[in-house]
Symmetry: C2
Subunit: 470 residues, 2 copies
């Protein structure tokens, strides 16, 4: 329950329409896209300006109220669940694209701008903002920054972090911080811009961002290759890179995913193959043609049973269908979809997929894997039912083993979904005790009272490692 006096002060800042505390309103802000986590906030505030955010933070700081910054809450690690109640700061009203600077190739935006809206706006000017998380139709740029969102174009173009060059952010005490600039180079002190990106709302509230844009590539082509054998597919991936081709997209689907997709959309995918690779290249026309031709040749050399190159945009769209439909097709099978995020060096793709398959078998679970093969960023997706307590226990054990192996292979516990609540128990596996200590120190430097998004990243109940890392 929020103190009525505090509520009154919040109403004075943002106006009574933008302070919500009715139970039916609070429920809408009690969860995000991560299954199995839900908590009610005490109050929701929707500010319109940075100054309003600063004033709200000053009150929260004074009273020690937890503050959970939030965009569209599409994240997959429980990052925006108000675990300890408190105040949800929904930034959706701060949704203006403030400037497209064609001379410096930057866009300056408020945090509530929808990712797709930014894409469309800059592309209309022949410019390009590469990060394209799966949720881009509803996700906000602020959320993308807080989670350092990735996407399908990460292999060639990197992730959100590679495109944010300046931030305005409100610190827990209400002070406004400015980092970076419209600058290709800036080494004035520690890089607070990069530190805030991916900090999951635990360090500061992002209120404005300047993003680097690129010229829109001249052309793009799409191809699809089908492999009987997983290791052939993995070898094709390695060989493409070893041939100095960095495709914009290099996606993978395993046998389980292929079958589920085929059941759903019936586009004639073969059911007895172990892997589909979906590839795209962009750039100048002749370069793209050469790369696509070479990639097709490599896939054939590596025993692909079928290689299709789209010759029209419509054909490209059709080839993309299978990958685009993967998550929806999987999600309709069972009540609960746990979309995970194990990432390994790309050379370890085949052993990782094999491990996931074996672990699923061992625990009698349905886990289908798809993801960004070029990045080594896999999404093993478990189809289950939260109401089946026994199965959920097996799911947890299975993912313990999967993350164990991920770390062993030089990978990470999360490539693009974030730590939040879901991965907090695993964080020490990746960063070690010293890493945790240093990170807690950084948290304290920004947020001495611990009011920003409490309960995220760090946990008192770390997971026990099954095996000791060699």
């Amino acid at each position: 329950m929020i103190d009525p006096q505090v509520k009154q002060r919040l109403v004075e800042i943002v106006g009574e329409n933008w302070v919500l505390d009715q139970p039916e309103e609070l429920v809408a802000y009690s969860y995000d896209s991560t299954p199995m986590y839900q908590e009610l906030p005490d109050i929701v505030v929707l500010p319109k300006t940075t100054e309003e955010v600063a004033k709200v933070m000053r009150i929260a700081y004074e009273y020690g109220i937890p503050v959970i910054p939030r965009g569209s809450a599409t994240n997959l690690s429980g990052g925006t669940v108000p675990l300890k109640g408190g105040l949800v700061l929904a930034l959706n009203r701060m949704n203006q694209i403030l400037e497209i600077d064609e001379e410096n190739l930057t866009a300056t935006v408020q945090p509530g701008v929808i990712t797709q809206e930014l894409h469309q706006t800059v592309e209309a000017k022949g410019l390009f903002y590469p990060p394209d998380p799966g949720s881009l139709r509803i996700s906000t740029i602020g959320g993308n920054i807080a989670e350092n969102a990735g996407g399908l174009r990460g292999l060639k173009y990197g992730v959100t972090k590679d495109y944010v060059i300046a931030l305005e952010a409100v610190l827990p005490n209400g002070d406004i911080l400015h980092t970076g600039g419209k600058l290709a180079k800036d080494v004035a002190g520690y890089d607070l811009t990069k530190l805030l990106i991916g900090s999951e709302g635990t360090l500061a509230v992002i209120t404005k961002a300047t993003l680097k844009l690129l010229p829109l590539p001249e052309t793009k082509r799409t191809m699809l290759a089908i492999f009987k054998d997983l290791t052939d597919a993995a070898r094709a991936v390695s060989k493409i890179i070893a041939n100095k081709i960095i495709p914009v997209t290099l996606e993978f689907m395993d046998n389980g995913t292929i079958n589920v997709v085929e059941d759903y959309v019936k586009i004639g995918l073969p059911r007895d193959v172990e892997a589909i690779l979906l590839m795209e290249q962009d750039g100048s026309k002749d370069q793209v043609d050469r790369d696509i031709e070479k990639m097709a040749e490599i896939c054939r050399q590596e025993q692909a049973v079928s290689v299709q190159v789209a010759s029209t945009a419509k054909e490209a769209e059709q080839l993309m269908t299978a990958r685009r439909m993967a998550l929806s097709a999987l999600a309709r099978l069972k009540p609960t979809t746990i979309l995970e995020d194990a990432t390994v060096p790309r050379s370890e793709l085949a052993p990782m997929v094999e491990t996931i398959k074996n672990v699923a078998k061992k625990y009698n679970l349905m886990i289908c894997t798809f993801g960004h093969a070029g990045d080594g960023n896999l999404h093993p997706t478990c189809l289950t039912d939260v109401r089946n307590a026994d199965e959920i226990k097996r799911v947890e054990k299975a993912f313990d083993e999967i993350y164990e192996k991920t770390i062993e292979l030089g990978g990470t516990i999360t490539g693009e979904h974030g730590v939040g609540i879901a991965k907090a128990g695993y964080l020490e596996w990746k960063v070690g005790k010293s890493g945790i200590e240093v990170m807690k120190g950084i948290k304290k430097a920004f947020d001495p009272k611990g009011i920003l998004n409490p309960g995220k990243l760090f946990t008192d109940q770390p997971r026990k490692r099954v095996v000791i890392q060699s």
Copy 2:
């Protein structure tokens, strides 16, 4: 003076050959490439392994001895001057390229590897490590990381920060930290990799780094354009970018630099022009040809008095001579060369160059400007004499005004040289009081006793702003 017992313990760790404390030895470690800063360390230690670094740090931590990590000390902000004495940790013996991973496109190196050696090694395999600071023939990768070194290819390829994906580093207390991995995506907690890059040896000692490599571009071409008028040159720069061309190099020299270079190398540069632009593009042959042709056309449209496109590697080399010789030509004129590092959004190039010219005139100083026009990263270079106290006072006032203007134009006090001692007084101008407070908190999280590179980044004597920022 170092405690003899401490010296004995250090000798036991690294061997007596690798502990230096004779005055003539200490002098060699008392300065770096920044004029006007020099202090003697108490002792110099040259470790060979990470374990040795960790043991040395444990002793320094126990006794509270300042530790200054150092590579080749080519930095230009006093970053490796042992301002408070103490122990210089020279990492030059840790100089192995440990691995080139052609499957994952990474290089793993020790900090003492010379930048050029890395370039040559990876290029022999058809791979590419883009960061190319001016000092690359002698600078070390560890130093490049500590300073987040830039270079001539920054416009298209970014800086050192964009290529470091994993670090091993020793914390002040001797604990060993591992960050990142051979991973295209990793969001496990705060990004400690990026935080350590550019932290100027104040947070941890880098003992190993994994670097991202790219395929070596197929071809490269070079051109040079000469402009009577500075604003024409600046307009050409803007127009190239606005035409969606991102050249690999887009360098600028002003009239002063042109004349000094011509005096030195006599290659027939016209003496009455205000700007030379040197441009390079790399990539696939047809794309490069198209870009070079378009850039030449733009320069002609913007009233270039001469546009030369190299048709052979030798011709390219000749065109590059002027830019390559700039610093050497300038440095021979006067006893002291102060190479500065003002960076603005690229659209503000012309007003920035004008300001520098006017300020030089006002204070009766010789300041020539060259730099990375595409990045907005300018190197106004003051030719002076430290023994002339009156002139040095005017130099300081001049740079106060120059940095004042840099900030006003949305720029930064350092694009690639770092803060160190030289810019510590200006840091607050760029990052504000909140920024300084947060950065000090981060420093404390890593280095609670303040033993790593003390006296850098932060100062008790910040510069007064001449004008209040609007």
